[in-house]
């Protein structure tokens, strides 16, 4: 029996897609009074291994190749299909998530299930492994193409847009003292830069600088704003807060110097290395700060020249 890989993407699609979307609506059925001798022809000409038995769209049972073979072997005389069909049929509802179909196929080892409309009980179609696999592949293919198009568009945006000068501006708002959301801006920015096709080393340097700046705003200020301006040749980051300000910038820049309170240190912040990490990642960095008013940090990272990876510095 095939087992579907426990890939998270397939799981996700399995919940997103409904049985209705994957099922085969090309409904072949037989009447309960049809004779067993006619069944063979029905199965063979439609290349199917089983067929639902219905009366006025109501499912009465299922008859399959195995039942036919057993009947032939027994040498019994011809009879109506309803005498040999299985009446205990495992069915699926059209509105169930596809993952239920996958689970049931694995659980019972059957090849196909009739699909019913939940309210009316009407037979709508059947679903097989093949149907499921086809639908999953189709959906993956579509999503993959959409992602490709998105990536292509994003990474060519500077060439596609006609202007004397083009730049993109991203803005992020930081909530002070909120450690649950701290780090979200830098992680969102890193993803966006990746989409734009920024070199991974550059994206990493920008993300690290923004992470450290963001953390400082979270820890020391009541809130702030990050503005990132992406030009074809450089990325400029501005982090502004209306916190207490830094009385002595030179001292604050000293590795190991930190005024982080004890409870913040317990979380692993306050190594006194943040501003230094920013400096190492930046091609240029300026801090201006007014005590009682706030702090402004400007960080420049060049994107065109051969980047010196931060790791090897």
């Amino acid at each position: 029996m095939i087992t579907y890989p426990k890939a998270p993407k397939i799981q996700e699609l399995g919940y997103e897609l409904k049985v209705r979307q994957a099922m085969n609506r090309n409904l072949i059925t037989v009447e309960p009074r049809t004779s067993m001798s006619k069944l063979r022809g029905v199965l063979r000409s439609n290349r199917i291994s089983g067929v639902p038995v219905t009366r006025e769209n109501k499912l009465l049972g299922v008859i399959c190749v195995e039942d036919l073979v057993n009947w032939l072997m027994s040498g019994a005389k011809d009879c109506a299909i309803e005498e040999k069909m299985s009446k205990d049929v495992v069915t699926l509802c059209a509105d169930e998530p596809l993952v239920h179909a996958i689970n049931k196929l694995q659980q019972y080892g059957f090849f196909h299930f009739p699909v019913l409309e939940r309210e009316s009980g009407e037979l709508l179609g059947t679903i097989t492994r093949e149907d499921i696999i086809r639908k999953l592949l189709q959906k993956l293919e579509i999503e993959y193409r959409e992602e490709e198009i998105r990536r292509y568009r994003a990474s060519h945006i500077f060439e596609d847009i006609m202007a004397d000068k083009t730049s993109l501006i991203f803005q992020y708002y930081i909530v002070g003292q909120d450690f649950n959301r701290a780090g979200e801006s830098s992680s969102a920015l890193k993803k966006s830069l990746k989409r734009l096709g920024t070199h991974p080393d550059i994206a990493r340097r920008v993300a690290i600088a923004v992470y450290e700046a963001e953390m400082n705003v979270v820890i020391y200020a009541r809130g702030g704003e990050i503005t990132v301006k992406v030009d074809p040749n450089q990325i400029r980051i501005e982090v502004e807060d209306s916190g207490p300000g830094i009385p002595d910038i030179e001292k604050a820049m000293r590795p190991g110097y930190s005024t982080a309170p004890e409870w913040v240190r317990e979380l692993g912040f306050g190594a006194g290395m943040g501003l230094n990490n920013i400096k190492k990642c930046a091609d240029e960095m300026n801090i201006t700060s007014t005590v009682g008013k706030g702090t402004r940090l400007e960080i420049y990272v060049a994107t065109k020249k051969e980047s010196v990876s931060y790791e090897v510095k």
């Binding site: 890193k190 990493r204 992470y211 290395m273 230094n276 190492k280």
Partner: protein, 114 residues
């Protein structure tokens, strides 16, 4: 050594990232200070720490670390596990204290310098 071997050899409890255990470990770093890991951790290393809150995931992701190993049997917070699963960062828990775990990793050939 692969992460999966690490898990078996050192009896680690995998909290998340089971699909990523095929990664090769390039070394190790021990620290409980996030900025220190940002400055000195290197891509592909396992990070040994006692921190359990979700910012460790951000740091590991920023530095493309191979995995986070939490010591002393401390349990990562729920939010940490959720975020790590999203970012594809495996988190493992060891019952051992840092000194003992790092000693054993070193003996097994995982180095802190390159």
């Amino acid at each position: 050594m692969k992460l999966s071997e690490l898990v078996i050899k050192f009896d680690l409890k995998v909290k998340c990232g089971v699909h990523e255990l095929d990664r090769e470990i390039k070394g190790g770093y021990v620290s409980d200070l996030l900025s220190d890991v940002i400055a000195n951790g290197r891509a592909g290393e396992v990070w040994i720490t006692l921190q359990i809150h979700h910012n460790i995931v951000g740091v590991a992701s920023l530095k493309s670390l191979a995995a986070i190993v939490i010591i002393n049997g401390r349990e990562p917070e729920e939010e940490t596990i959720k975020k790590a699963e999203d970012e594809g960062i495996p988190i493992m828990v060891s019952k051992l204290p840092a000194f003992e775990l790092v000693g054993r990793l070193y003996q097994a050939g995982i180095s802190g310098t390159r």
